[in-house]
Symmetry: C2
Subunit: 155 residues, 2 copies
């Protein structure tokens, strides 16, 4: 299996949980801030979508990619649509990578403080996604969610 396909599979094990978490939320939860200065729920989800895409485009192009501009979210449905759109873009971007590209070193000092290979950057991207998804589970519980999915999507 090409490295890109194998990585996409292991990334989607986590990204595919996001919809199940958002199903528990309602429009009033978008602006929920658990502490002063925290990301709101919408901010946190957008941080996941936009950072993951930026990591992926950096890995694929070999140079730090531009972070997409944050839209205004006025409903959970809009957030769910954004999740679908940016997941698709992220997957397409990773799918374009050859096995050789995974070993290319990238100048990512301005992004993460040191240089890494594209493959290592994708691994950090995946860890970053899991970290913030874990946080989103707590946000959802604090908003009253009762039926959260497992943290990992096996299918």
């Amino acid at each position: 299996m090409p490295k890109a396909d194998s990585f996409i599979q292991s990334f989607l094990m986590h990204r595919n949980v996001l919809g199940g978490v958002l199903d528990n939320l309602t429009d009033k939860d978008l602006d929920f801030h658990p502490w002063d200065g925290a990301f709101s729920t919408a901010d946190l989800v957008w941080h996941m979508l936009s950072s993951t895409y930026t990591f992926a485009s950096t890995a694929a192009s070999g140079a730090i990619g531009e972070r997409p501009e944050k839209p205004v979210f006025t409903s959970i449905d809009e957030l769910k649509n954004a999740a679908r759109e940016w997941t698709e873009k992220t997957v397409e971007t990773i799918r374009s990578m050859s096995d050789e590209q995974f070993n290319v070193s990238i100048d990512t000092t301005k992004m993460i403080g040191r240089d890494v290979t594209a493959g290592q950057l994708l691994s950090i991207m995946r860890d970053h996604e899991i970290h913030h998804k874990g946080q989103l589970f707590v946000y959802a519980r604090l908003c009253g969610a009762q039926k959260l999915p497992l943290f990992i999507h096996a299918g």
Copy 2:
């Protein structure tokens, strides 16, 4: 590099962040429950330490390992000592594994609903650790933490 050493390195990138999070907490935060029925802070940290060890011992022995019994934690220092102790045990357990053992299939249906190889189980263990560590960051902020470390330990 042996697979075990490479995996230990990638696991410690996350486990080594735990101490820096706990440094932000005080004894009164041990029993903090962000919602009714939630893990307390002590429960959450013990869940990480004990699950990760159980995943590791299952991967190394080829059969589902016993989950260690939860001690009573009366101070953050006791929790920090437990973190050191169980990190050491977990690392020793993984270090005992040969490259071949990573490919051995294990009957883990009762643990995670399907059979996986020891290597795949360690990968799930690592994801599980990152997920709950992400949650612990939110707990710590809700307890008033101001100086949390990065989610990943690069050194």
